[in-house]
Point group: D4
Chain length 251, copies 8
Amino acid sequence: MNESELKKLLEAVRDSEMSIDEACGKLKDLPYADLGFASVDHHRAVRTGYPEVIYGENKTPEQIGMIMSELAPKGGNIMATRCTAEMYLKVKEIVPEAVYFHKARIIALVQKEDTDSAGTVAVVTAGTSDIPVAEEAAVTSELMGAEVIRVYDVGVAGIHRLFARMKDIERADAVVAAAGMEGALASVLGGLVNVPVVAVPTSVGYGANLNGISALLSMLNSCANGVGVVNIDNGFGAGYLAALIAGKCSK
Amino acid sequence: MNESELKKLLEAVRDSEMSIDEACGKLKDLPYADLGFASVDHHRAVRTGYPEVIYGENKTPEQIGMIMSELAPKGGNIMATRCTAEMYLKVKEIVPEAVYFHKARIIALVQKEDTDSAGTVAVVTAGTSDIPVAEEAAVTSELMGAEVIRVYDVGVAGIHRLFARMKDIERADAVVAAAGMEGALASVLGGLVNVPVVAVPTSVGYGANLNGISALLSMLNSCANGVGVVNIDNGFGAGYLAALIAGKCSK
Amino acid sequence: MNESELKKLLEAVRDSEMSIDEACGKLKDLPYADLGFASVDHHRAVRTGYPEVIYGENKTPEQIGMIMSELAPKGGNIMATRCTAEMYLKVKEIVPEAVYFHKARIIALVQKEDTDSAGTVAVVTAGTSDIPVAEEAAVTSELMGAEVIRVYDVGVAGIHRLFARMKDIERADAVVAAAGMEGALASVLGGLVNVPVVAVPTSVGYGANLNGISALLSMLNSCANGVGVVNIDNGFGAGYLAALIAGKCSK
Amino acid sequence: MNESELKKLLEAVRDSEMSIDEACGKLKDLPYADLGFASVDHHRAVRTGYPEVIYGENKTPEQIGMIMSELAPKGGNIMATRCTAEMYLKVKEIVPEAVYFHKARIIALVQKEDTDSAGTVAVVTAGTSDIPVAEEAAVTSELMGAEVIRVYDVGVAGIHRLFARMKDIERADAVVAAAGMEGALASVLGGLVNVPVVAVPTSVGYGANLNGISALLSMLNSCANGVGVVNIDNGFGAGYLAALIAGKCSK
Amino acid sequence: MNESELKKLLEAVRDSEMSIDEACGKLKDLPYADLGFASVDHHRAVRTGYPEVIYGENKTPEQIGMIMSELAPKGGNIMATRCTAEMYLKVKEIVPEAVYFHKARIIALVQKEDTDSAGTVAVVTAGTSDIPVAEEAAVTSELMGAEVIRVYDVGVAGIHRLFARMKDIERADAVVAAAGMEGALASVLGGLVNVPVVAVPTSVGYGANLNGISALLSMLNSCANGVGVVNIDNGFGAGYLAALIAGKCSK
Amino acid sequence: MNESELKKLLEAVRDSEMSIDEACGKLKDLPYADLGFASVDHHRAVRTGYPEVIYGENKTPEQIGMIMSELAPKGGNIMATRCTAEMYLKVKEIVPEAVYFHKARIIALVQKEDTDSAGTVAVVTAGTSDIPVAEEAAVTSELMGAEVIRVYDVGVAGIHRLFARMKDIERADAVVAAAGMEGALASVLGGLVNVPVVAVPTSVGYGANLNGISALLSMLNSCANGVGVVNIDNGFGAGYLAALIAGKCSK
Amino acid sequence: MNESELKKLLEAVRDSEMSIDEACGKLKDLPYADLGFASVDHHRAVRTGYPEVIYGENKTPEQIGMIMSELAPKGGNIMATRCTAEMYLKVKEIVPEAVYFHKARIIALVQKEDTDSAGTVAVVTAGTSDIPVAEEAAVTSELMGAEVIRVYDVGVAGIHRLFARMKDIERADAVVAAAGMEGALASVLGGLVNVPVVAVPTSVGYGANLNGISALLSMLNSCANGVGVVNIDNGFGAGYLAALIAGKCSK
Amino acid sequence: MNESELKKLLEAVRDSEMSIDEACGKLKDLPYADLGFASVDHHRAVRTGYPEVIYGENKTPEQIGMIMSELAPKGGNIMATRCTAEMYLKVKEIVPEAVYFHKARIIALVQKEDTDSAGTVAVVTAGTSDIPVAEEAAVTSELMGAEVIRVYDVGVAGIHRLFARMKDIERADAVVAAAGMEGALASVLGGLVNVPVVAVPTSVGYGANLNGISALLSMLNSCANGVGVVNIDNGFGAGYLAALIAGKCSK
């Protein structure tokens, strides 16, 4: 029951076309969401401008293309994560305007360029192998309207590389730190910047890295303050949270 | 906003004392639960007769007593789990009618004896050390109105003990299987009875039992059908689920 | 020794064709199961109407077809889980009447339609990726005679979707909740319905989902009452348990 | 080497009182931090207003009191976490102005009341047992100048309780979600609000909660976007990150 | 139904005092164990001479004393494991003949000295801290009639100590290897002797020994052949299995 | 230095052809094993008759063939485990007498048939999927000269199947219990037989079976006595240990 | 800012071409590393002679060839680990002088043969399957100028093999112990040599070896002193650390 | 059989007082260690100067005192780790010259001051809570003759603290890095120094630090080269290995 339907019901009551009891019953018999959750959806609408997201891992290109086509008329940006170049070719047949971010493995339908500043996000990686996750974060942030500063391959074993780039990093409203192996980057960064750090552990490494658990635990146990952690390899989640923070900060 | 308030609002609309827009706004601005969730609570009411439950582990006797006092006027049974005898003595000062089930470590305020049959639950244990968990299950089932058949210390290493008691077990509408160590009881029982088995792993054992994880995994991997598992040492949960099933079955 | 053989033995005793000692010896020398376990089998017979189940994962189509052929004369339903479409084509050559449930990955030989009501099961999923597990549960329940209500893609991150479907879910005698990732659906559902919830964690997700362990632990630790858990991705087990409960309830 | 010392050195060069080689050598032989890291400390200064934090777990009251005394002249707020009431009594003898937040287990020396708005943080818990962790978060946020909205005991098993409080929660610039057991609160909240959610798993529960690992994994696998996770029971870290975000947002 | 009752039934059939159908029904309705499991118990009787065992961990001295008193008339040895000296003093009041093996933490009622050789067991430990577990094994083996050779503190980090004792160890029919930390003793021993090695990991160590898991995994992965493993700290189980093997071997 | 060389040295001393110091030096300078470990090897010789074993998993057929060729002249049996049929075809080109045990995945060169009884081993499995591991055990035992009784697919969920075969199992001197999923077979068997049980967990199952860890933990925590456990899927190790025990027992 | 640039700045100050304030500002505005970390890099230069290392696992041959080409002019040795023979063929097209160490899976550009002794490293393995990891260690040590003694397949289950090679091992300044399964080699070696032992667990094994975790835990819990552990299968790290120690020792 | 006994045997052979066969037999019948392992012990003697070590955790003061008394006549240093001040008071009654290192929890009998340089070890900690472990390492190194540089509380969250102390750390021949929580210190240090780093994870932290597992995994996955890891909280092992390396390096 949307607002106009609700108004019609109330008008019917006002005009005595519907009894109080009948109206009361109809309102009580509504599916749960219809009234109470109009409010919920209303609040969600504040998030307009954020992209619709499709988790592409277990979906066929046809499914992705179809969902994109359905969402397109809303006019916002739409992105599908974890997509291969092969998948893109097939999605493009269905949604010709779709573009592909190769390193980020993201297919996107960009319908809206956020021109007003939505803040700045720095995406920092420890190694070159962390770049796919970092790019997923970076492109996500960009699709949410943020400016993104990419600072890659500045792991703590050669800490002078990180320091050489600190001036860049300090410009950001939020920092994404992507690192595998021992994941120390998040702690070092957390101690150097004065904005929130979103730490994303990557599964880069082998053996006792336990597919990313090692970096995950490091980041959760960070001795630095102001660090929040997302799931292993969850570049999208990191980019989303960082852009959410940066967008707020820049306003 | 309860029903009478809703009716007043509608009457105000009918009597043109409130504009359509004002009424529409009020309905939209309601706290989430006020309308939609009246429905939820209504459905919960079907569960009347089931006891109110207080998890006593981290609460003081004073807190438990106070909560019991508050819930008492509703007239249903109230139970607090994981309570020591010492706690009971103090709760009794606040709620004199409270009784204590020693083995089950449950304090209960029994205000309603379910006289109509709510089904039969068999509570079976592998060893004597599993009895506290089993009693928590058994007393919970009883407070929910079920008849309980206790069959203790019939672990699979001496499987003739179990078979000697099968006639009793087969009378039940649902079976609780409580076992620590290797937890094999659930699988064997699952193969012998034709009613749902609620498996509750206990932390009984040492070393590679990993505080109950061993039994938990065994039960989850049961090669028998019709077995559902609850948390380690969660006698209450097992008893609740079994009585819920048995109560349905007996109707 | 089946019943007729037992009778013959007793007749021989009655007719003095066999001495007491000889009869006594024969009875004692019987393989374990022959007498005592006739009783076991008798009780199992109560479960007639439930399908025979073949776990297809590590079997060849030939093996599955052969087992189906052997079981067919009993007249009940037979199902093989975790079968691909390729396997079905080969099984069909051996058992031409076999049908294939694509989403559920189940090959079935349906010889008996349960026309009398065996209760209603709602199968609910958090996401679309949980559907294969959910379908395994749904088809299993249906082959056991239950009516199944499918409610898919109503995860808690968009909780209004779940509420919009609660009217449907509340019709069920038992609910299957299939969810991966954080598995929160089981807890939320457990708090909304007043029937047993069978929670089946799925391996959907990545990284810290640990192939389903995350959802499994969530479900075991559910703060809602009346929830029983089965193994990760065990749609069959969930459907079986739910139909077992629902079948009982509906009688 | 601070700035005035650096200037003196350069003046000595200018005045030919020091040779180029000698100056070059001195600059190269400086302890690492003396020049390059003056810059680091400068940037850290931006964080002025944030409290100095002492992790009290393994410290004696004497140590805590002494550190507080040393930090006091800087004029900012100072807080010590994980302190018992007994510890406070002894700390108070050394630092008489120190106050104690009982539920939060925090001793604080409040020297500065942030009167200008530093944003609003909602601290939400699933159960009453999560309150100590939540209070640690709430008091930390308050000491950083944030307004804090406390919404306790609104776990998802009785989800109408949460909805009844959503109006309050939606006022916040950042939300802390503290939950043990299955930790589903973070996902549900993440789907309802449009600000960052800082999820803090608590060790509340038993058995398969694995001392908080269950809630931790749930939160990391949240299907909702915009959720960052901190260590188990790390109320301080959650409160710090939330206030950091809220402070930025409110400017 | 024991043998005499069975004969009576058959006589009644023979004498036509009972119909075939009635007899058939009675035999089918027998409790499971009554006939079939007489056979089971009969086979168990072969194990006579082995001690009755009481796991003392969670039992009161009164319970232990009572169980011992009940078992005593059977005439065999009775042992209670994991008992403190304090417990012994109280058990002794109930069972005055009970003796206490201090290092092994075993209370025993020795009613039968096995004079005929039941084989030889060598019990070997890596360190001195493994001795309590080793003694539990050794005393168990002795109570089962085995001769026990104790070889303690011969861990592989000083492997000459082990070699100096090989002549003794080689006399055994079965070897118990008790070791904590890295548990390498089992592999080295397995390569040196030509009899079965029963490996018992101990929880001796700290940190990454994970309460014995490290030694357990080592022993399970032993590159030596002929090694069987029991639970962490399960001295009783190791001694029982070794004596079972040795007893067989010596016959 | 073998015995004849040692004698020559001593003769040289006796004949004063070598000084005491020179002899002493030579003896001290010997490689470690040359003297002391002749003894070790001598003892190992007692194990003659046991097959030489090659772990085939990571080896090429060429390597396996070559090792077999080298070991062949010793005259004993040689076996290579975890070999595919493809590998066998290539090994056969190098070692034409080699035979292949398909289900056991073992290539063997049988040069010696143990005609004198080396005891009897029963190999029991819970399901049909456990058969490859069981066959590896069975063939290993046979190659060590044991008679093997195969009892497959008698898991505890249909416990009458196990009882129906107990007469066969009871003939054995040692029992191998192979089971995946919840691994309950080992405990049940351990309670029914009076000989050692070698439990081998298999990786059969999915989800919470954790690739065999579930069955492994079950077996380690067995409440039955006389059970020793080997590594997951280690059919060879189980068969070796069982035959070692049985061989001893039968003498 | 390198030294010559720094001198130019100081000369400008001396020559009054630059004001004190301007110079001070420039020095403070330098990127972090430019001054302070010149010192860091200076110290790193001491490590000259050590090879540059490229982790080849996730890189394309093109990337590896390109990085090698860039590093080549520095004149030191360059190595890429975890490279297949196929990768080598493509790298060779870019860097024709590159050589391939097959067993070690290392592509190297050897531009400098360390003729002066950089110490001796013994690389010891438990089995033949550990050789790839061991070769990675050995070649790494050699590329760092160390003499390497290879002692393979001397696992502790046949400990005489190890002793027969001790004379060789004792020549080393540092020992690498590579072992999978139970990893006992490190402890035994640690007790026999008087130089540091670098233990590298390998993932060799199956089941409860947990992909190398078993050997890792064993090595961390070694009861021998003087043992340091690196990551599972990290042959490079072990060879690097051992050569670092040996190089120091030999000076 | 020591050297003089061996000579006597050879003299008896030379003097024809003992036959060749008898001598041969005696040599072969020697306990394993008597000849071959004299060599082992001889090599161990090279380690003279290193302290004898007693692991005090599970020992009584009486046991420690007694062992110290027995070892004292050898003249070397003796140390007992993990001892409380209370234990020291009792040990002192038995060994009056024993001294106590409070922070290191070490009781030592110092009989030999290593005046000749045995190298320099830097012991670095991330926080103040890591100091007990660090002191155990430092005192161990000192008792082995090394000079120790203590650099405490320089964790990476405030990395300028570490850089301010690098000049000190760079003087060392080996570095011990002790850190809990995320353990990032080892990686950062590993990248800054050109000597071996011995990383010792501490159990400092809570929640997802998993009692030190988090720091352990971080250190094992260090992206820096030249890092070897010891067990959690194993200060002794770290100090021993570092001093072993430093001692070698300084010669």
